[in-house]
């Protein structure tokens, strides 16, 4: 256990290692650590901001959804109304068309009836003339009695 030159050697070694650590180890390590701290701080800030943005966006989306729903309801309502209107219109058209057809048919029927009446009348006139001819056995001038037969037929 002698005190000797080792003492000085150890002191010099001490200074050398301290100097090395001071110059090459400490600044680099601390720099990296501070940089990371900064990074984490900004990261957290950004995360917070993103959270706020998300909340805002969600609120906006909900609002838009509500609006869209209201709009859709409106559109459906309108469409329903329009559909009813179309149906009504179609009904109306069908009804009027039906009426028109019915009227035409009736007119035709009336025409037919008239024609039949006319025929019947003429036939009856002829028949009556023929009958009267037979009854009277006289040759009746058809022309002379036309007016009378005509009147007779009209009474039918």
């Amino acid at each position: 256990m002698n005190i000797n030159l080792t003492l000085i050697g150890q002191s010099i070694t001490f200074f050398a290692f301290v100097w090395f650590c001071w110059k090459y180890v400490w600044p680099a390590l601390l720099g990296v650590m501070q940089e990371r701290e900064q990074k984490i701080a900004t990261g957290l800030q950004e995360a917070e901001r993103a959270g706020k943005d998300l909340e805002l966006a969600q609120r906006k989306a909900a609002e838009q959804l509500k609006e869209a729903k209201a709009q859709a309801a409106e559109i459906i309502d309108g469409a329903n109304k329009r559909a009813n209107q179309i149906v009504d219109e179609a009904k109306e058209a069908a009804r009027s068309e039906g009426d028109r057809l019915k009227a035409a048919a009736q007119a035709e029927i009336e025409q037919e009836v008239n024609r039949a009446k006319e025929q019947l009348r003429s036939r009856i006139a002829a028949l009556s003339v023929a009958g009267a001819e037979k009854i009277l056995s006289v040759n009746i001038d058809a022309k002379a009695h036309d007016d009378m037969i005509e009147k007779l037929a009209a009474e039918l």
Binding site: I3, L5, L7, G9, Q10, F15, F20, L29, L30, R36
Partner: protein, 313 residues
Amino acid sequence: MAAEQTATGYIQHHLQNLAYGKLPAGYTRADGTVLSESTWTIAHSSQEAADMGFWAVHLDTLGWSIGLGLIFCLLFARAARKATAGVPTGFQSFVELVTEFIDKTVKDTFPHRNSMVAPMALTIFVWVFLMNLMDLIPVDWLPLAFAHGTSAITGADPHHVYFKVVPTTDLNATLGMALAVFALMICFSVKEKGLLGFVKELTLHPFHSGKWYIDIFLIPFNFLLEAVSLIAKPVSLGLRLFGNLYAGEMIFILIAIVFGVGALGFIGAGLLQMGWAIFHILVITLQAFVFMVLTTVYMSMAHDREEEHAHDQ
């Protein structure tokens, strides 16, 4: 080695450093030969090492302390070079853990601006820890390996090859570091307060009346008190580390002797060795930490001007 030696011889062998120094002409060496002229050589006995005086170096102490310091520097410099601000992994996170711990401790005890104190604290903590850690390697392994390795190469008697593995059990190493800290203390004191301020601090405290004709008579007492408290700092710093580690190593050596005492002794020594080693893990970390914290506190005191102002008014 213990088998053919007495317990005392074994202990003494373990406590002797590998000394390299100059022996004077006409000196009778351990093996009986007489030197014809003064020679630089390696001591073959404790007596030779003592006779070399101050101009000798402990090759083992310096070798291990420089080697371990280099390991610290290279590992940490490599980690620092490769470090990224991204997610730290593996060794980088370990290094950052240590760095952050030191940084926090230094910030707590050292409020002044000096970029050198924190890296110095890191160096001291890791370096002293590594040197202390050598104490946990079984006491005979490295000395035996070294002795037989040397004798195989140079043909020297392995019994005369001394080898101490733990640098902090050498008073030269701990006092050397403490002296370096002491030098820094004085440097920073003078730098911060000026030479006059430093002298004032030594001579006008703690007794101070404010009247120069009284103060003149107080100077010797003040200087005596302040000088003692100033010198006591590096001495206690160096001796504390040395004492703890020396005692720890001594107990390991004593346990190692018990290994040779029969089967019961072997088992008992094994248990003792394990228990002491586990306890020693705490001691070596604590001593490294204490050395680091005290150095920082001394640096802080060297930067402190508060006391001076408080007494000057």
